[in-house]
Symmetry: C2
Subunit: 338 residues, 2 copies
């Protein structure tokens, strides 16, 4: 069995997703073309909203996983491009519906689609993109890839409903929370990676390894995002922080801080996150508490643990530039926060 | 080629869907069991909302079409049951999202799910049911059925976005309106019927005939619904009328009345439907105008025309009890209004 770069080897490299971006750049060009053509519709509002989202600068990590996990086996067809575009459509549909559910005003530093075009259009264009995603998957013709991605679709929605129950509830446990992020984030990363070896006709062992890589990377990615929303472990007060706090979202840093806090701390979290009663200075106090109880640094530590499991899964997959680039992607995800 | 009962033959029969209900009752028992099992989830809110919808007394016309259009070819597998349940899930997901988009308070005489559990849950449970629908279709393993149903899914959402543009716009033309109802209603009826011969391994001619039957029936069904919302051609003031009017929905009766009305009439429609400014007595005045310009009776006449086309399509399909029951279903749909 091939042995890939280990996590500690990788830590000495400069963490970047540039190697991944470069390796899949030709395929991603095709993915982008396909996305633009499939986001088209005679109904004007659809391409308008789709282009707003598509141009809003996501990293496109999920479709890159699909391409890399097919390319690493020397796959020479075009099915991975179509599956990658489907994955991105599924993700975009989720973002549109999330913004409606969370009543978000901003998305990646831009006004959220629901603020520009209304909740109604955001719900319906999300539905359209999901329908197009399934049509594209059907075009590829792999029932196995369809099974994996349609399962992910149901699991993502289930996770969002679960999160709705956890939202504004400071009694959320770590187990509850991990269930939420497995469903809402890790499941799509896992599916995006798994369909690579599926379309390349690989063994169950390869599919399982790619799936595990994606799943663990997804956990790490989400935990890093959670920490970043409070400024990361260094708690830098950047300009894009505090969204989760303002929306009453219970993330791992909060779960840890609540569990370790005093009754007075708990009353503070309850007022802010359950009671929607947030005053000037509360975000700063929240960050103070997170630092005091080492909740941010521990969240990042958990992310590192998941990252290490993702690296371990890469040991099963073929060595070579794709494997190296996928290892870099893990290190990059974690480096965002530290 | 077999010649089925013609529309005029059928008019002499007592219009009822009982024959259809009886013919597919065993299959519908299986569909209901599958729906209940697939609407299950460890996330409590999901089965709660799903059961609310499922028990709220829809006629389940769409899944019955799927069963009948497979059974009429002597299909003996179970794939049609799974496809029928998928069709009903797609429909239910659409209803949940529609209620959010339309800001509806009621659905089939009960409080809408969004009023009971909130818009957020309605959006997400809709997404979950759609994901489950695709998973079920994948279980069946027919790429052709998947293609038909995923296309319908995208078309339905496209139609809803189109309707959003037409809503509160009394300049909506008849052509615009027919495009909307083809997408939002007729497309799923067409797909529900077409997957019957598909799963039964029938010829393209049979698939096309079933599709046409479903499509034309869907048009008729929607136009009858539109007329019923203003009390039908007899304009009986039942208790469940006026929802479209209050929501500013532009339906065919309104399109016809606006086109034929005076400037003063147009100002009335504009105030009520575009301006959301509805006072006591306005619904009664709207119905007066619809009667004056024969807009309701003409809408019903159009529904009859579509019904006749559905009957014509049945001539291509095998004769027998299923064909007769599908003919009765057309007559029944239209009889609801006359």
């Amino acid at each position: 069995m091939a042995v890939a770069a280990t996590y500690s080897d990788n830590q000495s490299r400069n963490p970047s997703i540039q190697a991944l971006v470069d390796l899949v750049s030709s395929g991603m060009g095709d993915v982008n073309d396909l996305i633009l053509s499939k986001a088209g519709s005679n109904v004007e509002l659809i391409p308008e909203i789709a282009k707003h989202l598509i141009s809003s600068g996501g990293k496109r990590l999920r479709p890159m996983l699909t391409l890399a996990c097919a390319d690493m086996f020397g796959y020479e067809g075009k099915g991975h491009v179509t599956l990658a575009a489907s994955v991105e459509f599924m993700h975009t549909a989720t973002l549109l519906h999330d913004d409606v559910v969370d009543e978000s005003d901003m998305r990646r530093g831009k006004l959220a689609a629901r603020k520009l075009w209304g909740n109604q259009a955001a719900v319906l264009v999300g539905d359209y993109l999901l329908g197009q995603a399934f049509k594209m998957m059907v075009d590829v013709g792999s029932l196995e890839a369809l099974r994996i991605l349609s399962s992910a679709s149901a699991i993502i929605a289930e996770g969002e409903v679960l999160q709705l129950g956890a939202a504004k509830n400071i009694g959320t446990t770590e187990t509850d929370y991990l269930r939420v992020i497995e469903a809402k984030t890790a499941a799509l990363f896992a599916a995006a990676a798994e369909v690579g070896p599926v379309i390349a006709g690989q063994s169950d062992a390869m599919k399982a390894a790619a799936r595990t890589y994606g799943m663990e990377l997804g956990y790490a990615f989400q935990l890093v995002d959670d920490a970043l929303d409070y400024g990361g472990s260094s708690a830098d007060l950047g300009k894009d922080i505090g969204d989760d706090f303002r929306e009453g979202k219970i993330t791992l840093p909060v779960v840890l801080a609540v569990a370790r806090g005093t009754d007075e701390d708990r009353a503070f979290w309850k007022r802010c996150l359950e009671g929607d009663d947030i005053a000037d200075g509360d975000l700063e106090q929240a960050i103070e508490l997170l630092k005091k109880y080492e909740a941010l640094s521990e969240t990042v530590e958990r992310a590192r643990d998941y990252g290490a499991k993702a690296m371990k899964a890469l040991e099963t997959l073929p060595t070579g530039p794709h494997n190296d680039a996928l290892a870099d992607a893990v290190a990059f995800c974690i480096s965002r926060v530290s």
